[in-house]
């Protein structure tokens, strides 16, 4: 427990942030899904992005992963302004995403999913399936040693196994920034614990992680900081040392910013 505490303290926020999203807005047909939201993330840091369903957190993060293109605002990656208008751009910046739906092609096998969009090729320019399967066996061996179904389409795998394929895909290509959207929503207690271990490991490697959840219990212990969204706006951000779970809950439900947090544009004023 003290181990985690020292790690939390170890996050160095003096340099340039890995990611800085400034004043981001996006509207869908007149509805402001994200309204002038700003969040940031430092190397080796886990930031929990919290809020109700429909608070705008998934939309904000999909702007970062390139699934949506923002209407206004700026994104900085390691201090430099980045143009991200599709998922390929985000991946080029080392931003990898594990979506809530996992975004797996159900009809092809684990290797095809792991390398989807980044296939290994032979020198003839054809798919090197054997090399991809070999690599997949090694990655999965580290991540989930029980994983054996390499030839089956991923729709035949269990929830946990599918999750490991999605995670493997995100971390295999030297991600610097990892976005995890409700990573433990479909998992049992043991698998949730595994994901927690993995997050600590990645943190140690200096990877910045956005952890998105509607459930504060999923993220509070893992996160160094939390940012809370409500109605498309950022209520506030706080280091998890400076606030209690109840105070964060207050931010999520009422939009009330506690003294330990930095208020954002969405904080209620009364």
């Amino acid at each position: 427990m003290t181990d985690t505490a020292t790690q939390v303290d170890a996050v160095d926020r003096s340099g340039t942030p890995l990611i800085e999203m400034k004043d981001i807005s996006i509207a869908f047909g007149g509805i402001k899904a994200v309204d002038h939201a700003s969040i940031d993330l430092y190397p080796g840091e886990v930031v929990g992005l919290l809020g109700h369903n429909g608070a705008g957190k998934s939309t904000l993060i999909k702007i970062l992963s390139g699934a949506y293109t923002r209407d206004t605002g700026q994104i900085f990656v390691r201090g430099e302004e980045a143009t991200i208008t599709n998922p390929r751009h985000a991946k080029d910046y080392g931003i990898e995403t594990i979506y809530q739906t996992l975004a797996l092609a159900d009809n092809v096998d684990a290797a095809a999913n792991l390398f989807l969009g980044r296939e290994l090729l032979t020198r003839w320019g054809t798919l090197d399936d054997a090399a991809m399967e070999d690599e997949t066996r090694r990655v999965m061996g580290r991540l989930n040693p029980n994983f054996k179904k390499f030839k089956e389409p991923v729709k035949l795998l269990s929830g946990g196994q599918r999750q490991s394929v999605a995670i493997a895909r995100a971390i295999h290509f030297n991600a610097r920034i990892l976005i995890m959207d409700e990573p433990t929503a479909a998992l049992g207690p043991q698998e949730t614990e595994q994901v927690g271990q993995l997050i600590k490991q990645l943190k140690k490697d200096g990877i910045g992680i956005f952890l998105i959840s509607h459930d504060i219990h999923d993220v509070f212990d893992l996160a160094d900081r939390v940012s809370v969204m409500k109605n498309g706006q950022v209520v506030g951000s706080a280091s998890t040392k400076d606030v209690t779970k109840d105070e964060v809950l207050g931010m999520i439900i009422l939009g009330k910013c506690p003294p330990g947090a930095t208020p954002g544009p969405g904080a209620s004023t009364d």
Partner: protein, 440 residues
Amino acid sequence: MSDNTSATQIGADHKDGPIVRFLRATEVDTRMLGMIGALLLIWIGFHLYGQIFNGYGAFLTSRNLWNLSVQTSSIAVMATGMVLIIVTRHIDLSAGSLLGVTAMIMGVAQVWVLPDLLGLNNPLIWIITVAIGIAFGAAIGALHGFLIAYLGIPAFIVTLGGLLIWRGAAWWVARGETIAPVDSTFALLGGGPFGTIGATGSWIVGALAIIGIAAMLLMGRRQRIRFGFPLRPVWAEWTLGLVGSGLVLGSVLVMNSYLWPKGVVKRYAEANNIVVPEGGLEISHGFAIPVLIAITVGIFMTFLVTRTRFGRYVFAIGGNPEAAELAGINTKRMTLMIFSLMGGLVGISAVIASARLNAATNSLGQLDELYVIAAAVIGGTSFAGGIGTIYGAMLGALVMQSLQSGMVLVGFDSAVQQMVVGGVLIFAVWLDTIYRRNSV
């Protein structure tokens, strides 16, 4: 030692029955076996029906099987493209109409335009004509793809519109005139006695095919050994190799045993100053050129689908379009390319169909889209997306064409033929849903 090897072999599980073990060891798709079974049933059924009711079984004759192979070619070529379209959850209803207009444009080009520019019987005419056909088909396909991918119009509507538009255009190109005869070299691409490669050529093709089968099995095995993946038992490899080679040899023998008709031989002998010997000159047809075209297309498409990024993306899009998009695949561009590819294949089919008829007519290819869709579906392409094989669709084309020409042969009238084809299409989709429910 024996324990050690069996552990790395597939199909070493002795709890299952011999058939299950055989299938698992050879990794043969049960569905493909079912299709071959259906094919044999149709062939033998029509033959016996002819024998019993007409007093003559015409189906299992070298002549009919040769004709069947030529008739299947055009549908089979288009079916390979339809697989990609249905796999990505689209549909193409315009294939037959597009074939019609493409054939008309090629007809105009090679009969009305090119001879004036290059002189009659210039050897370039057929090459330019074929290039025009494929390019035109690909361009129209790309247009369909553009409307579907970038303007968001459902493929069903775009190609339903195309069904009418291109059939109308086929008439409009030459005001309904039939353009004939086509260039004499071009005509060879459709088969006929001269559009074949003869006995020796067929043996060479057969030998190459057998070498190809052996090389594929050997390379596959070596690849698996290299990465330590489970191997097929040696007997299963031999079985696959022998059955494959047997099929090749069988088809060479059948194609070679269909001899040129006496009249054709006589004309050929006169033209080339050959003296016909006492017992008559026996010249084999061998494989028809359109069949070789279709097989080449099949090999190319199989390669494209299984060995390239393009093919991988087609299936990923079919399995989960959103996931493919999020993985960074440009799904819109893929859709455009898939429809363009389909158009190009329709162009090839238009070459085969109009060369075979030795004419371009505006009704060419009518209802072909239904045969093509049926072929793909019978061959295991699923309307739910993400599943389908090229060889399955080509086999499906053979099944559809066998049904069709079998019914002609035993004398069913065209009304009955239509009803049967429609019924088979629905039956095949129903069978497919049952098969998937049980297998997953």
